[in-house]
């Protein structure tokens, strides 16, 4: 069920064809396929008939004005909206061909495959070591202390945090600086060895230097993980992603190669947004 008024408004504004999205919604080697995804918070229709694919080896940037449903879409990909009381999701999201909303999929197991990094760094109020080890512990990834040490060290190494914190693994993760905390959260996520990492504006609370470090890190991680990143910064989307999805008022407006979107947007809404006329 869609809210017709909203959809019509957007279509009317666009002045183009009624069919969304424009661009290239399919990926050659799809990892995540989204079909007819709708989401509601109570009476608010937050996502409206979203459908596109995210390929293996891809960094997809979700852009769009505030409240357009980027974060909702992201949270649909690891079923984190299940935890929200009045949220309702219909449609289909498949991960490697399996519908994650089918009854047979356990959201707990799903979230081990689809990790998430949040807008505000949110390390646990535990030691740095325990922060990284937590996911591995609850999923039983390490059979002994040495293996756990190994996981913790590799994860910290991969986010470039190991040399900064090697001597103080027992200190609280909350004592680190904002950028370090965010890298700790990324280390915590990759310690579980997911296939997909969802990032919800991971740099919005960080200074430019910390942001640059995270962006470099996303580049490195993209070799191994599918990354979906929500960002408000067009420059960041241009720097880190190879595909961009532009959303507006709960609808997916345009998807395509990053270079193409920024140089030659097909939809008027996309063009308005990236040139700074809306948003």
């Amino acid at each position: 069920m869609r809210t017709p008024s909203k959809a019509n408004d957007v279509a009317a504004d666009a002045g183009g064809g009624p069919e969304f999205p424009v661009g290239d919604p399919s990926a050659p080697d799809p990892c995540i396929q989204i079909r007819d995804l709708n989401a509601w918070y109570g009476d608010i229709h937050a996502l409206c008939d979203v459908g596109f694919e995210i390929g293996h080896g891809e960094v997809l940037a979700l852009i769009g004005p505030s409240g357009c449903g980027k974060t909702t879409l992201l949270r649909c990909l690891n079923r984190l909206n299940d935890a929200v009381e009045d949220a309702r999701v219909t449609g289909e999201v498949t991960l490697d061909g399996q519908n994650i909303y089918s009854g047979s999929v356990d959201p707990v197991a799903l979230r081990a495959r689809v990790g998430m990094v949040f807008q505000k760094p949110n390390p646990f109020p535990k030691s740095i070591y325990d922060n990284v080890a937590y996911g591995a512990r609850i999923h039983g990834l390490a059979s002994d202390r040495a293996e756990l040490d190994e996981i913790v060290h590799t994860s910290l190494e991969r986010v470039g945090l190991l040399k900064e914190v090697r001597a103080r693994l027992d200190e609280p993760g909350t004592d680190l600086s904002g950028g370090q905390q965010q890298r700790l959260c990324i280390a915590r996520t990759i310690a579980v060895d997911p296939e997909v990492i969802l990032m919800d504006e991971p740099c919005s609370a960080l200074d430019p230097i910390a942001t640059a470090k995270i962006e470099d890190l996303i580049d490195e991680l993209s070799a191994e993980y599918v990354i979906v990143i929500v960002t408000h910064s067009m420059q960041q989307a241009a720097r880190v992603s190879n595909r961009v999805a532009y959303m507006n008022q709960g609808q997916l407006v345009e998807v395509g190669e990053t270079d193409r979107i920024f140089t030659n947007p097909l939809h008027k809404l996309t063009e308005d947004y990236i040139t700074g006329r809306i948003g």
Partner: protein, 414 residues
Amino acid sequence: MNRVVESRLRRRHRRERTFRGLCVASVLVAALFLLVILGSLFRQGASAFTQTRISLPVPAMLPAGDLPDSGAMDYDAAVLDALAALLAIDPDRAERRELRQLVSIDAAFVLRDYVESSPGRVVSDASVRVPASAKVDMAIKGEFDRTAASDRRPLSDLQIDWIDRLVELGAIERTFNTALFTNGDSREPELAGIRAALMGSVLMLLITLAVAFPIGVAAAVYLEEFAPRRAWIRLLELSINNLAAVPSIVFGLLGLVVLIDWLGMPRSAPLVGGLVLALLTLPVIVISSRSAIRAVPTSIREASLGLGASRMQVVSHHVLPQAMPAIVTGTIIGLSRAFGETAPLLMIGMVAFIVDVPSGVTDPATALPVQIYLWADSPERAFAERTSAAILVLLGFLLSMNLLAAAIRRKVEK
């Protein structure tokens, strides 16, 4: 600056000063009340921590040489003989009766204990300190007017004369009142103590804690983390909040009907008292635990959900550990309230004259606040000071509970 703004600014500053002055005055008034209460308690109660004793020379009481078989001794008479010898009088029967009123009935037992523990023979210069009667205690502590007409004071002229003589002889001393802490209740003020009541209170609190803490925290976790936002849950929350305001005597009635009448639990038992107080404390614990759980940031829950933790793991690994300091504080506040509660205990028969220290949760017992109520009701002058002393002990207990709460909080927060 604009004149309007300037004149308004002056008025705003004046108002601010008035407001601050009122706040300071309120704090001062509150502090004054506290000082008055504590001051009067100390003034009345401090003397109860000492007890007047009369030291009697042993040779005057006991025949020299081998002690007789302790079972055959008339210790009562021996104490009176010693007093008479000390005062150098030869009392007739009426005087002996008056003399007997100077010492506590416990004096004979003290003497017997001395005889039974001494190694067979009496040391010639030994003396035994026996507790003075409450009347003498009051006289020594200056608690009544000696110049009043003789029928308006508890001691006769003769007895006052004897007391003065004993003081001159140096036979009277004031020592720390250990009986107050080692004895149960007694009809004789000088022998009455709070140990039985304190023990009853401690046993009850343990039961209250064991019952109310797990149930309260689990209920709070369910309501905050798992319960759907449905009408009946709202109703439940409303009822719990209301329960916190229900007069405590109602819980006592509930205990009487359900626990004693239906379930056949013993009357006056700490078990029943503890369960009733648990009911009383439960809403406080649920409410404080809920707000503690609510104060844990959502970002922590989402972080751990995002890593693939189950709802239960989120609660047990992150939410509860973070909420625990506030939960513990809330629990201890609830327990302090339960500790000072009297009314519900009246309903379940805990207002009783209990001499023996309870050794288990089903033994008859009373509680410290109830003991205070009982003593406050007693006509003897000497019980008045003991009432204040017991209140001081109660306050000390509450203070240490709150300090404990603060200490636990600081430790867990680290």
